[in-house]
Subunit: 226 residues, 2 copies
DNA sequence: CTTCCGGTTTAGCCTAGCCTAATTCACCGT
DNA sequence: ACGGTGAATTAGGCTAGGCTAAACCGGAAG
């Protein structure tokens, strides 16, 4: 049976697979979930016998089709609740993660679909991450790139964050950056891969962004509005 | 620490205390929660050492002030979520109990209060039950009585149900009864304490209600609208 | 005052998850 | 081919929460 804990494990594996191709290590799961590697190994045995992961000792884990579907459903609920909390209840984007982490475990297709409809079938959550459809496929995803890959002179609209941790989001708040913000890339500093930008519509002339920041911001070409 | 399970126990005790004065029996708790009496006894020891109940073997349990406050907070969240599900997401009143039973365990005063504000600080949930305030007090409660205590000739507006089980609510649906329905008491049958009523605005001339039904409906005097 | 009986409690066991400590293994460099 | 080393696994233990079966009251009836 799906429990809160197994859902968290499956979701973690899904998100780690996104980066690391295949063969997620038990220690990376442990780190992401704040658990001990030994606990993860134990859980992998259970997930395997339930048919949700492919696992062989010392060889890492992969989701099965069933496991991936469960994980996607959890991600869907997580992002819908985040959208609700920010869009409907008025929370800030750095306040909703922990709440959604709990709400995502209320499993009810009726509830999820009604919520989705009430929100108007949003494409992305408050952090710019795409919300899966009920069937587990992703909604139209625009081609986007990391700000760290942008060239000088480009006008980039921020459309997503690579890290939804509260402290990163609050850092962005204090820099004056948010979803929809448009920045013009002024200068690149190869030494530490940091970047100077101008925030269009902002008060400061220039703003300096560390590589830790630029590597966690997604952007698309800004279109001057009509 | 408050867990989902302890919250369910505290809530059950609160609701059983409402009827039985003081000294709730372990078996009544067991029945309400669908658990074994032995399990309840075990949990009572834990609740006692956490200071949430007064308990002495063979003498039943009562909530302490702290225990009562926790229970009230859970009831508050339960009823707010029910109101949200029916009023905002469009669920029927017989579909929301099990969902609220899960949602009520997401503990966050911010979330609860924001939800309350979004809903416009409702007085009652979709079953007519009063929603506690954040401080644990009840909101303005109208004087109401059980339909089984109504006299012939009275025009009664249904304002609450004593039993929120799905099957009872569906039975009311099939009778054409709901919150706000006005009925005129036509005849009482002392033999089985059943009652014949006319549903104001309904299609049928008369409707026969068993005592099982009339003892679970709350009413107030119907005021003819202007 | 004694006996019964049904509700209550205890005793013992189980599963899910998690932890620490000890062990094992894969892989890399020599 | 051979160790070393650090990651991964196993072993063993803990808590929460449940269940069954057996033992244990307390109050009602004789
Ligand atoms: Mn979670
Ligand atoms: Mn998000
Ligand atoms: Mn509950
Ligand atoms: Mn209710």
């Amino acid at each position: 049976m799906l429990t809160e804990s197994t859902e968290n494990y499956l979701k973690a594996i899904l998100q780690l697979e996104a980066d690391k191709a295949d063969g997620v290590s038990t220690s990376s799961i442990a780190e992401r979930l704040g658990a001990q590697p030994a606990s993860v190994t134990g859980m992998m045995h259970k997930l395997k016998e339930r048919g949700w992961v492919k696992y062989e000792r010392y060889k890492g884990v992969d989701l099965t089709e069933t496991g991936r579907r469960h994980a996607m459903e959890t991600v869907r609920r997580h992002r819908l609740w985040e959208t609700f909390l920010v869009g409907t209840l008025g929370f800030a984007w750095d306040e909703v993660h922990d709440l959604a982490e709990q709400l995502e475990h209320v499993r009810s297709t009726d509830l999820t679909d009604q919520l989705d409809a009430f929100l108007g079938h949003p494409q992305t959550d408050p952090h710019g991450d795409p919300i899966p459809n009920a069937d587990g496929t992703f909604r139209t995803s625009v081609g986007r790139a990391l700000l760290s890959d942008a060239q000088v002179g480009i006008c980039a609209k921020i459309v997503g964050v690579g890290d939804s941790q509260d402290d990163f989001l609050r850092h962005l708040n204090s820099l004056g950056l948010g979803l929809g913000t448009v920045v013009e890339v002024k200068e690149l500093f190869p030494f530490d891969r940091s970047m100077a930008v101008h925030i269009v519509g902002g008060v400061e002339a220039r703003c300096h962004l560390s590589s830790r920041v630029t590597q966690n911001l997604w952007w698309v070409e800004a279109v001057p509005d009509a």
